[in-house]
Point group: C2
Chain length 221, copies 2
């Protein structure tokens, strides 16, 4: 069931693909926003639908069988471009641009627009948990090994408005290979809106991928 | 900041809009999937991008200023068509088709495709929390009054594969107007993959909307 595809692309070929897909993905992000917010007349909407269906047909003529999964280039660099939070080819990803500082704190600045709405004008609480699940998981992977969530507890402290936001997470303590992680989302002025704590473990498929990739181990990009 | 727009549409006009936007939204859902999975050549991808940018420009010529928010028709029926989980006009919504049975149990059958991926071939843990946050919130709104999450705890029991899934939630107990709710996601054969428990409270904006809408109160559609 788990997909690790060694697609025999060089890092240069991967970079060329990234250059092609980044603007395509961004244009679909803008389309999602436009579909939610448009006040166009019926004829414009019907024409838009016909155009989109034609694009879908052209892109679907040649496609991979399942989901994007994890693809590994000839250099051993793994990429998860379909990932719903980070994926370079996933228009649903905000995307989250995560940085890890020298102290192991993972931070991200991001923008959540109309497509992430729950209550009027506010970020859906479940989107906050999607972002924090991913960011806490990133902090848990301090040693470049992805860890999976076993428990996650969210505390909603106040409303999270749509717009620019920041988030951070760090490991509170390790228990063997299990990471106990805390984090939060805040408004640009630093006011925390949501806090989270979670436990993250090393799954079997990571160890499998490490074996597949040889002595050096994979690098997750 | 909170948006309640009385847009003076009749229920018939709302139904006509739904008929226009449902297929447009579905076509963008298929586009998201196609962008993730396509193996088209460079020229096809460049053409797709140009086409999509043209559609975005046509739809954006006339658009509402912010997010969709909550719009109320002349009959008092409120709709949240931009909602990230349920929204009729949000291509990111799976969407979730939720039913409430006579005993107050909220259930949903849904399909999560390539766009919801976390680990290879699996649903992102944060997507599971997005779905359960919304479904538990639905169960908490048994009296047709939306309640907001204050705490949510997720327990990841096993992998959740991409594909057809089901979920259910019910109130375990009430504490004044605060609802304590439990729920889970399961594979089609009933095997539970993720469990959740949460507390949900009645927010101020619901009481404001109830005052705006007069004696009958709003109906959330």
């Amino acid at each position: 069931m788990l997909q690790f595809v060694h697609d025999q692309l060089s890092d240069d070929e991967v970079a060329a693909q990234a250059e092609q897909f980044t603007p395509l993905t961004q244009s679909v992000r803008e389309l999602i926003d436009a579909v939610i917010r448009t006040e166009a007349d019926d004829a414009t909407i019907a024409a838009a639908r016909a155009d989109i269906e034609r694009v879908v047909a052209s892109l679907s003529e040649r496609q991979m069988p399942g989901s994007y999964g994890m693809r590994v280039s000839t250099s051993g660099t793994a990429r998860a471009w379909g990932n719903v939070v980070m994926g370079l080819r996933n228009p649903m990803a905000p995307p989250l641009d995560i940085h890890r500082d020298a102290d192991g704190v993972s931070t991200a600045s991001f923008h959540l627009g109309a497509a992430f709405e729950g209550p009027p004008g506010l970020v859906h609480g479940g989107v906050a948990s999607l972002v924090l699940d991913h960011l806490l998981g990133h902090a848990a992977g301090f040693d470049r090994r992805p860890r999976m969530t076993t428990t996650l507890t969210m505390h909603y402290r106040r409303k999270t408005p749509l717009g620019p936001l920041q988030a951070r997470a760090h490991i509170e303590r390790m228990d063997g290979t299990t990471a106990h992680v805390v984090g939060h989302i805040a408004e640009p002025d630093g006011r925390v809106t949501v806090e989270a704590e979670g436990t993250f473990v090393l799954p079997r498929w990571v160890r499998e991928l490490e074996e597949l990739s040889g002595d050096d181990g994979p690098r997750f990009a």
